[in-house]
Homo-oligomer: 131 residues x 2
Amino acid sequence: MTDRPGLSKGEMEVARVLWSLGRASVRQVHEAFPPDREIDFATVQTYLRRLETKGYVTGEIQGRTRVYTPCVQPQSVIRESIHDFVDRLFGGETLPLVRQLIEEGDVSTDELAELRRLITRLEKQRKPEGQ
Amino acid sequence: MTDRPGLSKGEMEVARVLWSLGRASVRQVHEAFPPDREIDFATVQTYLRRLETKGYVTGEIQGRTRVYTPCVQPQSVIRESIHDFVDRLFGGETLPLVRQLIEEGDVSTDELAELRRLITRLEKQRKPEGQ
DNA sequence: ACCTTACACGTACAGTTGTACTTGGTCAAG
DNA sequence: CTTGACCAAGTACAACTGTACGTGTAAGGT
C-alpha cells in the first residue's frame, strides 16, 4: 500500500496533537500536550523531525521558527494502524475485536444505542431494495 | 497494572501461535506458522526465549527439547493491547474505533446482524427491569 | 564407532525508538 | 553593545526489535 514507514507510539502521539492543531510550531505542539504528560521540548522537536522524514508532515521555516503541517490524513493513518492491529492480534478478523470492545464494558449504554442505529443505517445502505 | 513489558509485533505473532497450540516445542511453533510466513527456526526460538524472560511463557526441558507453555491468558494480553491501542489512537475513547471498524466495510452483513443481536443482549442485561 | 540431524544456548548486529543534551545563531530588552 | 530567551539542527545513546548465525552436544541410523 502506502509506502510510508509506520508510526511508532511516540510519533503517533505527536502526530495526533499536530492533527488537532492543524498547523503548528514545535512549541505549540509541545504546549498542546496534556499537562500530565511530561515531555521535553527537544523530544517533541525530534519527533516532528522524524515525522517529516517519514513523510507524514511537512515543515517550513516561517521567520525564525519552523512550522509543521500534517500532509497525511489522520483517517488514512488510523485505517492503516487498525488494519495492522487487527492483523497482529486477530489474524485479520475484525469481528472478534469489535465484540471484545463492546463486551468489555468500554461502551456505554448510550453508545450502544448509537451503534444500533449505525448498524441499521449500514444494513439499509447495503440492501437498497427495501422500499 | 500488570507489570509485564509489552509484547512487540513479532513476539505477539509467536505468542498467538503458542496460545493456539497450548503447549509446544520450538519446532512445533515454527511449523504452525502459516506457510507464507517465512521465518527462521532460530528466530522463533529467540522470540520464545524473549517471551519467557518477559514472563509470558514458561519453558521446561523435556528430554532433549524445550517445551513452552503460555502462562498468561491471551484474554489479558489482548485486553491490555486493545486498551493501549485505543489510548494511543483515540485518546481512550472506544466508540470511534468501533465505528471505524464497522463503517470501513470490514464487517460483513452477517456479522452486522450478529452484532445487533449482541447489542440487544447487552442492553437487556444492563437494564434488567425490562418486562 | 561414525556421520547426520536436530536442538539448546549464546552471540551478533543493524535498525528503530524514547529521550534528551549541545552548539550556534537570532531577536528583543536593557 | 550585552545579556538572556528562544529556537533549529546535529548528535547521543541505551533499550528494544527483527532476524539470524555459530558452537557444542546428544540421539539415531548404518
